[in-house]
Chain length 264, copies 2
């Protein structure tokens, strides 16, 4: 399995602490060493850093660890290639534009080859550049959104309901854990493995699971700050991570869960 | 005016030397300090590094200067904001996907506000995320390509001819110097100011114009290597830069000009 990390906040927040632990899973504390990537929304703008080097050794990861980018929506992925060769075009997260917003997507499938018998008909509006089922699923998902809602982005609830339906459809083909964001909110689908944490006042000391590093968040936050972290496996060992039930789609807005739907 | 830099090669080449000179134009040797960006194609994959910090001071630029990414097509841009506020979503180069290829675009307009009375009708297939005329022109250009050629990428010559037509149309609205690439080749349009250099055997010492830095390319190249560099202003002071005629579209393939068209 690959590793996913997402963050959704009510105020622009840097992800340096979480990424410090997460990046070591790419070749150091874990075996996912076939590239990695991270996308930061800053307003409607978006920056995606990608590297085919293992994140534990990557010069780009070093930059991301030490350069605090403040973002309300972040998606990161460390890859264990199961399908699609190790190449930049197969490195998550993927980016497309729909309705004048960037959309970012990262997928965590399984070791056996992700989505079986998944061969949707694409109409050409979104076409994969690489060879992964993950990018294909992302393109299909955006195509369906555009077909359903036309030229204008729908309100949050109808979009969430429709996304739950597409997710159900795609998840029938294989393990479809994913994170998706358009910069407004963050969608998280647990097919088999995903957990989340709500970090809010009263803030305390958090200690990384993958490294002996702690941060006292009471010293670096404001009382109103709210951060939701979503990850394949909990990143800290002294906070109240909630394991998502397999077959659950959630959407996080302003650092809080805003809706939940069953997908299996 | 902003500053453009492009590179097209027959073999993956790093742009560190050229970028060393170029990046100082963002806030040090020149006044373009409203953000910058650079896109590297690696096969069909593409990495875009963006920053709203002046390139002369940017941590991301520091990474790019010291991390040799080998690419056959590179587009970089340093921004002097004339229209559209300083924000990540207004930072060039812009990226979209068409025909299962990433497309990268950067534009250098003028100080008066770029494209006047340019208000094309968009059909929703490509929609700007930010406020610039540049991104609007890019979206319009991709929309027209898709309308003309449907779901499959055309051959090089019909695509070039069609691009020349669209370029003529858009350039009627204002200064439309641009660089465009789909990872196969690099299009360069000179509306008012653009120069190029063909660097090939016999290789010699090149000396930067913006800094006292030299490289002896005979020591770091193979005899068959060919590199075309395209820039708003020559980057070196001892090589044979060719000033493009205003109203000229060129396409570079494998480090050589492959076609030229008049656009004015």
């Amino acid at each position: 399995m690959c590793q996913l990390l997402g963050m959704n906040c009510n105020t622009p927040t840097d992800i340096c602490f979480s990424f410090e632990g997460f990046h070591t899973r790419g070749g150091l504390t874990d075996v996912h060493k076939d590239g990695w990537g991270i996308a930061f929304f800053e307003g409607p703008g978006c920056r995606v850093f990608l590297d085919v080097e293992p994140s534990a050794q990557s010069a780009v990861a070093k930059l991301v660890r030490h350069y605090p980018i403040h973002s309300r929506n972040v998606i990161a992925h460390i890859r264990k290639a199961t399908q699609g060769r190790v190449a930049l075009e197969n490195t998550h997260p993927f980016q497309r534009e729909l309705w004048g917003r960037y959309w970012i997507f990262a997928h965590n499938g399984n070791l056996g080859g992700n989505l079986k018998d998944f061969a949707p008909t694409l109409n050409g509006s979104f076409v994969p550049v690489g060879d992964t089922d993950s990018e294909l699923a992302f393109c299909f998902l955006l195509q369906r959104l555009r077909e359903e809602f036309g030229d204008a982005m729908p309100l949050r609830q109808p979009m969430f309901d429709f996304l739950a339906g597409i997710t159900r459809e795609i998840a029938a083909h294989g393990e479809f854990n994913f994170l998706l964001s358009n910069g407004n909110c963050l969608y998280a689908h647990c097919a088999t493995k995903l957990a989340y944490l709500l970090r809010q006042a009263p803030f305390a000391v958090a200690h990384l699971k993958d490294q002996d590093v702690s941060v006292d968040f009471s010293e670096v936050t404001n009382p109103d700050d709210r951060v939701a972290l979503i990850a394949t496996l909990p990143l800290t060992d002294n906070e109240a991570w909630i394991t998502m039930d397999p077959g659950t789609l959630m959407v996080f807005v302003d650092g809080l869960p805003a809706a939940t739907a069953r997908t299996a």
